[in-house]
Amino acid sequence: MAAIPLEHGLLLAGILFSLGVIGLLVRRNVIFILMSLEIMLNAAGLAFVAAGARWGQADGQVMFVFILAMAAAEVAIGLALVLQIYKRLQTLDIDLASLLKG
């Protein structure tokens, strides 16, 4: 099996990352925003794996495991906050939940 060149890995990661950023900017539903964040973080993880493969080191994959753990922690707290907001406002629309101004 031929090795996948670094550029392909980074390109794929870059596309995924951009999709995540677009989702973050366009979506108004908090759940979808959290999903977009997840895509961005995993794109960065993929870039680490691709980079690690280029140098033949495990470091990239180690970093990916850390990113997975951290993303899970983040989403756990994110969903807890989303639940609280939904209980108060009966909506998941981030614009409707925006009160702080100035």
Partner: protein
């Protein structure tokens, strides 16, 4: 125990303390006990920071390096965490939340910040930052009864996670290009590289700049600051403004000094633009605010801009100036948000300018303390803020960054206006009888008095602290 790990005692003690407080909350819920354990743990960690001195500098594996620089910033962070814990106690006592968990996340956030100051590898950089951020999400949204706190928490979470993703992608690209994630070897790889302006390196640096810029809340990555500062409980705001920024700034200093980030001209130009924008926009937007927390939020954006001026100048003088200013700034913001948390009754916080009208006639001591802290933020002589700003300007002048220095001077002048506006309101008489203020906690008030005294002391006798900074920080 290996000598390597002995140097890590401060970090280990804070980690153990967080577990002890966690177990205590599981067995019996006592607010005062949780505070006591936290304070004891933090003081033990502070003693350990001083105690590990003879072992330093000591690198711990490839991930962390304990040196005078880390020692200095760990000391600052632990001291600020103690202040936050005491303020948090006075604040939470009046509220019906589950209170003990606050100290657990506070200790974890402190742990993350301490890891950041000693990080010498992308892994510890990332881990420290995330331990700090994830704890901060909880702290900011801690009062789940209040919609504003929830909103601030969600906003911070979304933006912080996005900025972490940017930072990680930048790190991944650097790793892909140079094959190492350790600061030292990365410096060698950068020095050996023929061409540093390849697209990958440029994109990577830009992405990392976005990530760090967000954490420091500098323009144009500052939008979250006023909302989060307003929505979060006042003691948490104090923590975000002092500890999390000091830790990230410490990391930025170490990263730039070790890998010689100063060789990237584009980065330095970008930083100069960011510094100018932060100083001007921060101060100008602060002028039109009617809410004291928002004024302080915008002013903190400007203060980070001031520090960037010295940072851009580079060299030992910059290290000294930034380290000194971080202390001064932390004293002032901890104290200012401390005042807000002490005078706020149950429920809504007192934070609009009107709430401060006539504070002097009701609570003369608190008003005087607040005045001293505001004078320090404005950089008026006899306060520490003046000495701090003087060193920042000196660093800028020594490096002949005239534009930056001039903007700093103009921005400071604008700043004086809104600091005096708060003071004028405090000393004015109110027409209507004031709403009753809650009894101010004695420990909290004493602590704020100490902060104000330290601000004056450092403004009159800055020598000792400067000597300490020279001895510790310049080991970088």
């Amino acid at each position: 125990m290996d000598i390597e790990y002995q140097a890590l005692w401060p970090v280990i003690i804070v980690a153990i303390t967080s577990i002890v407080v966690l177990l205590q909350a599981a067995i019996t819920r006592r607010h005062a006990v949780a505070l006591g354990l936290t304070i004891v743990g933090l003081i033990a960690a502070f003693i350990a920071v001083i105690g590990v001195g003879p072992l330093l500098p000591q690198s711990v594996g490839v991930l962390l390096v304990m040196d005078g620089f880390a020692q200095f910033f760990m000391g600052l962070i632990i001291a600020a965490a103690i202040v936050t814990a005491v303020l948090g106690y006075a604040y939470l006592r009046r509220r019906n939340e589950q209170r003990e968990e606050f100290y657990i996340v506070l200790l974890l956030a402190t742990l993350g910040s301490m890891v950041l100051t000693a990080a010498s590898h992308f892994v510890t950089f990332f881990l420290g930052l995330e331990i700090l951020s994830v704890s901060l999400y909880v702290m900011i949204a801690y009062l789940t009864e209040e919609l504003a706190a929830l909103e601030a928490g969600v906003k911070y979470l979304i933006l912080a996670a996005a900025s972490s993703a940017f930072l990680l992608f930048g790190m991944a690209l650097i790793y892909a290009e140079f094959g190492t994630m350790q600061f030292g070897p990365l410096a060698d790889a950068l020095a050996a590289a023929e061409d540093l302006s390849t697209p990958i390196v440029l994109v990577a640096t830009a992405l990392m700049l976005v990530g760090i810029g967000f954490k420091l809340a500098i323009v144009p990555f500052h939008v979250w600051t006023p909302d989060v500062y307003t929505g979060a409980p006042a003691p948490v705001t104090a923590f975000v403004a002092s500890v999390s920024k000091s830790a990230v700034f410490a990391l930025l200093l170490r990263y730039f000094f070790v890998t010689d980030g100063y060789q990237f001209d584009t980065v330095m130009i970008a930083l100069a633009v960011i510094a100018i924008a932060s100083m001007l926009i921060g101060n100008i937007l602060a002028l039109i605010q009617e809410n004291v927390k928002r004024i302080l939020a915008y002013s903190s954006i400007a203060h980070l801009g001031y520090m960037l001026v010295a940072f851009i100048a580079g060299g030992d003088r910059a290290l000294e100036a930034v380290a000194y200013y971080l202390i001064v700034y932390s004293l002032a913001v901890l104290g200012s948000f401390g005042i807000i948390s002490l005078i706020s009754p149950e429920g809504r916080e007192r934070m609009s300018l009107e709430d401060f009208r006539g504070l002097f006639w009701q609570r003369p001591r608190l008003a005087i303390i607040f005045t001293i802290l505001l004078l320090s933020l404005a950089g008026i002589p006899v306060t520490a803020g003046f000495v701090g700003k003087f060193y920042l300007v000196l660093a800028g002048v020594a490096a002949a960054h005239w534009v930056l220095v001039v903007v700093l001077a103009i921005a400071s002048l604008i700043g004086i206006y809104y600091y005096f506006r708060i003071m004028a309101v405090m000393y004015a008489r109110r027409d209507t009888p004031a709403a009753s203020t809650p009894t101010v906690s004695l420990s909290g008030a004493t602590l704020l008095g100490l902060l104000a005294a330290a601000t004056i002391y450092l403004g009159v006798y800055p020598d000792q602290l400067l000597l300490l900074i020279r001895r510790l920080v310049l080991t970088l």
